[in-house]
């Protein structure tokens, strides 16, 4: 089709698609050419005189029954492929997907958390979807799968990746300001590489950064200098910014106290030109220190 | 407008009174049933009684009995519509929450 068929479902879906498209195309071409033919054949300019035909029961029956049959065919093949897509095999690896405004977090059974979905090639994976705030929808076009993440309940998806590489993940349920930026990647890697990552990467990285990721901060703030929904973290420490405090503008230099205050009470000082949408996310004092520390060193 | 346009029906005040007595009696009955605590069917029974009461109001107080067929058909369609949307919604929630039902 137009994009890779990178999972087991992709094949079913594409076959179904083409069957229905072909039927539809035949119908469309038939309808259109009949229309054009009749316009020319019975055109008044050619002196056509109308004969008062009232209708025909046989024809009515034909063009009721044939479409009924056609749509039933479509229904059945759609339902069959649907059932395959929804039936999770017994042996699967489970990954939790936590959606929040506006980032994805993937949690593995061994406690590992990641902002990219890493999966081994050829192994079935089940995703347990949940949302921390509003509706989101988890969508991997290359895998042809999608399901909403609904706050207050759990939904699921499953797939077997069949092509190595990295594919886009989108949020396809409108979830507010950062909806179009709520992207991630699924990385399909050879099983060995995956196992290395899965078993070996527990302790890597800096604790503060990891927290920024887990708490969803990086859904709105980048670490590479580009502004997103909120200001970037890169070089934030010591930056001079204009903030609005209780309706009044003032200019301050960012220091540790300011950072902590902004995390604990996001509404207190709002950086000018950014929307007041940051939620209060619970952090322990120890976590707060770690975050502040890592922000201080993000240059 | 003419006399003929006025539908004539022979309902008397006495009939209305009778209907009212039945309605009050049914109210008493439904409270009594609720008190008896026949849990499994209690809800069904009270909805059933309520439906009988609603029917009485419709037929007598609202003169449905004397209305032309077309109005009854229309009412039927409205009620059918309501039942169908309830039914179809339950095709979702029944199977989605099925597990919770006995909690």
């Amino acid at each position: 089709m137009f994009i890779p068929e990178a999972s087991n479902s992709a094949h079913y879906v594409d076959t179904t698609f083409w069957v229905i498209v072909v039927i539809s195309a035949v119908l469309l071409v038939g309808v259109t050419s009949a229309m054009l033919f009749l316009i020319f054949r019975y055109n008044r300019r050619r002196g056509a005189k109308a004969e008062q035909v009232q209708g025909g029961t046989a024809l009515e029956i034909i063009w009721t029954v044939i479409p009924v049959v056609l749509v039933l065919v479509m229904f059945v093949i759609g339902e069959k492929s649907f059932r395959l897509i929804r039936s999770v095999p017994r042996e699967v690896m489970t990954v939790r997907v936590d959606a929040r405004q506006w980032s994805w977090m993937f949690g593995y059974d061994n406690g590992l958390r990641s902002d990219q979905l890493r999966v081994p090639l050829g192994k079935p994976v089940k995703l347990r979807l949940s949302s921390a705030d509003v509706l989101h929808s988890f969508y991997i076009p290359a895998f042809r799968i999608k399901e909403d993440c609904v706050p207050g309940m759990e939904t699921y998806l499953w797939f077997t990746p069949q092509q190595q590489g990295s594919f886009d993940i989108f949020c396809t349920e409108y979830c507010g300001l950062g909806h179009s930026g709520m992207l991630a990647k699924v990385l399909v890697m050879p099983e060995k590489e995956f196992t290395d990552w899965y078993t070996g990467s527990g302790a890597k990285g800096n604790r503060g950064l990891q927290l920024l990721q887990e708490k969803g901060c990086l859904g709105c703030h980048t670490t590479d200098g580009t502004p997103k929904v909120g200001p970037t973290f890169k070089g934030i420490y010591g930056r001079t910014v204009t903030v609005i405090t209780a309706g009044k503008e003032r200019t301050i230099a960012v220091d540790g106290d300011y950072l902590k205050r902004s995390i604990l009470d996001p509404g207190a000082d709002m950086v000018k030109d950014f929307p007041p949408v940051m939620p209060k996310i619970p952090v322990t004092p120890e976590e707060l220190e770690a975050i502040e520390d890592s922000l201080e060193h993000l240059r | 407008m003419t006399e003929a346009a006025v539908p004539q029906h022979g309902l008397t005040s006495r009939l209305y009174l009778l209907v009212w007595i039945v309605l009050v009696a049914l109210t008493a009955a439904t409270v009594a049933v609720a008190r008896m605590n026949v849990t499994a069917f209690a809800a069904l029974i009270s909805i059933g009684i309520a439906t009988v009461k609603a029917g009485l109001v419709l037929v007598f107080f609202m003169h449905l009995k004397h209305e032309p067929l077309i109005l009854k058909v229309m009412l039927g369609i409205a009620l059918l519509a309501l039942s169908l949307i309830i039914l179809l919604t339950f095709s979702d929630v029944w199977y989605r929450w099925g597990a919770h039902v006995h909690s």
Binding site: - | S46, L82, T89, V93
Partner: protein
Amino acid sequence: MHKGEGSVDERHLDYAGAKMGMWIFLFTEILFFGGLFLLYSVYRMKYLAEFHSSAAELSVVLGTANTVILLTSSLFMALSIAFLRKGRRGLSLLFQLITIGLGLFFLVNKYFEWAEHIRQGIYPDSPVLLDMARGKIIFFSLYYVMTGLHGLHVLIGVTIIAVMAAFTRNETIGPLDFVKLENTGLYWHFVDIVWIYLFPLFYLIT
């Protein structure tokens, strides 16, 4: 709104048409309340136990009293139409006033019921309510909205009957032209029917 202008025949009265219009309006009301009844039944299925324990907090006595009040008002409404048609204008007027009185009585009872819950701190978004089980929050949300909307309908009904009473007095409506009163009656009975269902759903499912 102004009176229809122009020829007489514009004001030609079509009784069956006017009543059909009213009935169709009632169908929309059925579907309007229907949405709420749907929500009720869905959430009751999900939170069966909480619905039962919450219902126990409502006063069956007040609920029953209100049911009887509304049923009685319906009786008087029906009677007032019958008497108007027989030309007994005075009696019809009297019954309309009784209907209004009963409607107001219903609302007063409702007021005391609500006031009692609010006194206990149970009202939408109240700290007390938010502390309770989720099924209870939903139950009381439904309770307030459904009885509230029903109460609003009672209030509207009372107002319309008051207008009709004025019409009866100044002979705008009479034995030959009573469709307005009849339609008012249809509305009032419909409001009664809604209560007939609300009563067991909220008061009797303990």
